[in-house]
Amino acid sequence: MNATIAMITFRAMLGRRRAVLLFALPLLLAVLAALMRVLDASDLDTAAAVLHGFGFAVLLPLLALIAGTGVIGPEIDDGQIMYVLTKPIPRHTVVLTKLAVAIALVTVFAVVPILLTGLLMAGGTAQLAPAFAAGALAGGITYTAVFVALAVISRNAAVIGLLYVLVWESLLGNFAPGARSASIQQWALSVTDALTPTSYVHASVDLPVAAPLLVAVAAAGAVLAVVRLRSLSVVAAE
């Protein structure tokens, strides 16, 4: 970890108008929760549907994508990463620092809002809120590691990430059960499933399978990012 790199990355992510986007996403989740309250539809079923359908399927991957690709992608693109790489700082420190910043952002802008929304909608019933928050944290870390690795590998990281999240996890997941089992969203959901007794949350993968997969994929993402950053060739921005 390197405090200076962390500070620069935070400033790049939250500076100027960029923070607006990060604030707007969880705000909509809160509006949705408040609307359910007004409509008097805050039962456990709806709470689970909203937290899964909006929190897990949209908010978490989208924020992880913004944070994961945003901490390193633009710097590689415009060549500024050279100013960091030419300093005597090990590459794994650079990657791990940026990863930590991205995870912190995901925690603040996705995990905490999911926890608060859960508390607002379901209260303390069935430990729904903490269970979803724990799942979101586990999934968020893995998503972020994957997207950081993607951002180091490819310039189209954001689009590839979207294809994975929207086409593989959401679209194919509805048709092919196999695709559903091989998705970070389902692994995160299995963490939630294991922590809450309600039957409204159902993951297609069991926790003993999902937990090692979450850890393994996150570690693989981080390692891949370090390896690729070691031999990064900077080409001129398009």
């Binding site: 986007l21 949705l32 359908g53 945003g70 633009p74 189209n156 954001a158 689009v159 398009e238």
Partner: protein, 292 residues
């Protein structure tokens, strides 16, 4: 103390024929349309638009194949439903390519270079939006045309009806393209940082869509069909489907469709407001860009 003088070294005005506004518009339009598909750029810029164009074709080809093998014409996807069924791919295309058109000039501070030539601010913006609309229209119209042509080859009955539905669906595709391009280019013009534009555009499409769907599901559960129908105005694809169903006579695909011609006219008005508002906002944005 030195005195400076300006020497007349024979500067001359250009007094020949000028190519005019139409030429400017056409050049900018063609340039932007090529940029939307990565043409005239390195291969890595072409990968994504063409990959997405291929993915969007796959369901149509598979469907045409299924119809011609099984000889069951009812399997043919409704032309007007196709863009809605592949909406995620269309949205990703928009998210990937809208920043290419709308943010690149801002990011590299090249906007003043355009306006130091006889290019009007409005022409510049109109060319960009029109190019994005054309690219999106092509993306959706090609698979719809494949469906229609496949249907003809497989000899589906009621040919005259099919032609009508097909032409209606093409109008629908154009409307989808206008609404999406209006939203996408505005969002991209305000997020010049690379990667952020993609995420911002997809967020602006995805969040309202999922939000509306969740509220609609709950409204349906409580048999509040009025709320369910009118919520449809807030999700881009549902909005255009309202126009398709109410004004173009297409079968319903999206969830919330307000009743009567009124519903259709309101939806059409929202589409028009989106398009007009988008051009106005972009005009204001690019007029100031690069001058600070």
């Amino acid at each position: 103390m030195t005195t400076s003088t300006i020497h007349d070294i024979g500067y001359r005005r250009y007094e020949g024929r000028r190519l005019g506004r139409a030429y400017v518009l056409r050049s900018l339009f063609v340039h932007n349309l090529r940029a939307a598909f990565g043409l005239g750029r390195p291969a890595r810029s072409k990968v994504m638009p063409f990959l997405l164009g291929l993915i969007v074709l796959v369901p149509a080809l598979a469907d045409v194949g299924a119809v011609s093998i099984t000889h069951r014409p009812e399997l043919l996807i409704h032309y007007s439903a196709y863009p809605i069924q592949v909406q995620v791919i269309v949205a990703i295309f928009l998210a990937a390519q809208a920043p290419v058109l709308a943010s690149r000039d801002l990011r590299h501070h090249t906007v003043p270079l355009y306006f130091s030539r006889p290019v009007g601010h409005l022409d510049y913006v109109l060319a960009k939006v029109a190019a994005m609309v054309t690219a999106l229209f092509a993306l959706m119209a090609v698979p719809v045309t494949v469906l229609y042509a496949g249907g003809l080859i497989a000899k589906v009955p009621h040919r005259a009806d099919h032609l009508g539905h097909y032409l209606g669906a093409l109008v629908g595709c154009a409307l989808f393209a206008v609404v999406l391009a209006a939203i996408g280019t505005v969002v991209a013009a305000f997020t010049p940082r690379r990667g952020f534009g993609v995420a911002a555009v997809i967020a602006v499409y995805l969040l309202p869509t999922v939000f509306v769907r969740l509220v609609q599901a709950i409204a349906e559960e409580r048999t509040d069909f009025t709320l369910e129908a009118w919520m449809g105005l807030f999700a881009p694809f549902n909005l255009v489907d309202i126009v398709q169903v109410r004004l173009l006579g297409a079968p319903q695909t999206a969830t919330g469709i307000p009743p009567g011609v009124t519903g259709g006219l309101v939806a059409l008005a929202v589409c028009a407001a989106l398009a007009g508002g988008s051009v106005a906002v972009l005009y204001a944005r690019f007029r100031k860009a690069g001058l600070s």
